[in-house]
């Protein structure tokens, strides 16, 4: 699942694949601001066919949180 999430991050935010680790923080390490976060959530929703609420999106701090959130919805 991590690979899929990483590919989605690469595709959506034009980031380097190997710069993304499970523990990287979205804001500090990957520089994802609130606007990019909204766009990322849209991509994740279409990619994994899940619904992400605003609260859930706000609670995501690291890549691991994303993976856990999506797994919980699958």
């Amino acid at each position: 699942m991590f690979e899929q999430v990483r590919d989605a991050l690469v595709e959506s935010l034009n980031l380097e694949g190997d710069a993304i680790a499970l523990t990287s923080s979205l804001k500090e390490d990957l520089g994802i601001d609130s606007l990019a976060a909204v766009e990322l959530s849209l991509d994740l929703e279409t990619e994994f066919d899940v619904e992400i609420t605003d609260e859930e999106l706000a609670s995501l701090v690291s890549v691991e949180d994303i993976v856990k959130l999506i797994e919980s919805k699958k």
Partner: protein, 455 residues
């Protein structure tokens, strides 16, 4: 087959029609008012005839001038475009009586569907859901109040022969009824020369979804999917999208089928649009049918690959639609931003003037429909829309990013435009999430004003 068309319109839609006609080897005749002497549509058409002075009523609404111009230049058809005479049943009848083809539906259908109240009754008969409201035209205030009470406030007072957001007023409660009723009647009189009004239930902050339909003179009817036109300011559309993002599949299916039903019920035989209001509970209601090509038709063309004007002309030449519903495939997303010459810091006041310099964005997936060119004049007599910026992307987000890039590249000097406003909108969270309704635009404007971006 139609050989020569007079385009009874101006601006970008006239240019757009002339382009398709040329591709079909059809000769084109442009008409213009003295204010539009140097307009692009006049220069692109094969021939042109001046039909009157600048005021619309003396030129683009002057039926006799237009028909006379068509006859003396040997045209066999008139294309009305949108606005102006496009939904005027009288004009359509006159065109036919002078032995010309009116590129649009039969005038009897225009007449029926032009009257909002008659249209509602036809939809009820066809089993298409309509907004709860009183059938007959309200002439007496007390009777109106009674009906309103039965319906339950808030209600809307609407012009029977109106449209485009004019001649309508919201009534929150009974003591507001009289003032709003009179205002709606006088605006309807001013805009449409007819002050018949009726009342219906107000649907609070709905989404405005419309379905593009096409019928021919042999009973075939198809749809070309839906458009989301919820981004409106004072009932005037500013941004439109196709398809509607995150529309529930079953609701969409039912809506598309109801649009076909509505078309069949009226025997509609041209390109048209059925407008629905979708409320928060997922129920939708027929609002009105537009018996013309619409400003936002390009976004449907982008996701289906169909040239709607070509289809319109072919149908008007008594051809069958050669497309089956299964042939119409929808792919990707398209968004249209209407670029108007208006000042967002002066409450969107129109800004006529002269364009000193203009740069048009381009690249994959960008389409510009406009009649503007370097050095041209924007006259105060007509609509302030000067350019339609259309972006197409594989996903909605790609489409938004493409539109942002194009807006950033667009330069129009010499005239104030609303480009900046579109740029802000495409960066707002609610817009990106795509769940906004018809109240979002005005709230967004207020928000921008409050935090100082728009003084």
């Amino acid at each position: 087959m139609i050989k020569k068309i007079l385009i009874a319109n101006r601006g970008e839609i006239a240019v757009r029609i002339i382009r398709t006609a040329k591709e079909m080897n059809i000769e084109t005749v442009a008409v213009y008012s003295t204010a539009d002497k140097k307009a692009l549509h006049v220069q692109l058409a094969d021939e042109s005839v001046c039909i009157g002075s600048p005021l619309a009523k003396d030129s683009y609404l002057n039926m006799f001038s237009i028909i006379q111009a068509a006859c003396q230049t040997g045209c066999d058809a008139i294309h009305p475009g949108f606005g102006f005479l496009s939904e005027n049943a009288e004009f359509a009848r006159l065109v036919q009586e002078c032995g010309l083809i009116f590129i649009g539906p039969n005038y009897k259908i225009i007449e029926k569907l032009g009257n909002k109240n008659v249209a509602r009754e036809m939809m009820i008969a066809a089993g298409v859901p309509v907004i709860p409201g009183s059938k007959d035209i309200i002439t007496d205030i007390e009777k109106g109040k009674e009906d309103a009470k039965k319906l339950g406030y808030p209600i809307m007072v609407k012009a029977s022969n109106g449209g485009g957001g004019r001649g309508m007023r919201v009534v929150e409660n009974e003591n507001e009824f009289e003032t709003m009723f009179r205002q709606a009647k006088s605006e309807a009189k001013a805009c449409f020369g007819d002050d018949d009004v009726y009342i219906e239930k107000l649907i609070r902050n709905p989404k405005h979804i419309e379905v593009q339909v096409v019928g021919d003179q042999f009973g075939n009817v198809i749809h070309l999917f839906e458009r989301d036109c919820s981004f409106q300011r004072r009932n005037q559309k500013m941004i439109e999208e196709a398809p509607c993002f995150k529309l529930d599949k079953t609701i969409r299916e039912n809506m598309l089928n109801d649009a076909i039903k509505a078309c069949q019920a009226t025997g509609y035989d041209s390109v048209g649009t059925i407008e629905f209001l979708l409320d928060q509970s997922g129920a939708y209601y027929f609002m009105e049918m537009n018996t013309r090509i619409q400003v936002e038709h390009p976004i449907t063309e982008m996701i289906t690959g169909v040239d709607l004007i070509k289809l319109q002309i072919k149908i008007a030449s008594h051809n069958k639609i050669n497309l089956k519903q299964s042939d119409i495939q929808q792919k990707g997303y398209a968004i249209e931003c209407r670029i108007n010459a208006e000042d967002i810091e002066k409450d969107f006041a129109p800004q006529p003037g002269r364009i000193d310099f203009m740069h048009i964005p381009g690249g994959r997936g960008i389409r510009i429909d406009s009649a503007m060119y370097n050095g041209c004049e924007i006259s105060p007599y007509y609509d302030s829309m000067i350019l339609k910026l259309i972006a197409y992307g594989d996903t909605r987000l790609e489409c938004i990013k493409k539109m942002r890039r194009a807006l950033g590249e667009l330069i129009i000097d010499g005239v104030t435009t609303n480009t900046k406003f579109h740029y802000y909108t495409l960066h707002s969270k609610e817009f990106i999430e795509g769940l906004y309704d018809t109240s979002f635009c005005e709230n967004f404007i207020k928000e921008l004003k409050d935090n100082g971006t728009l003084i």
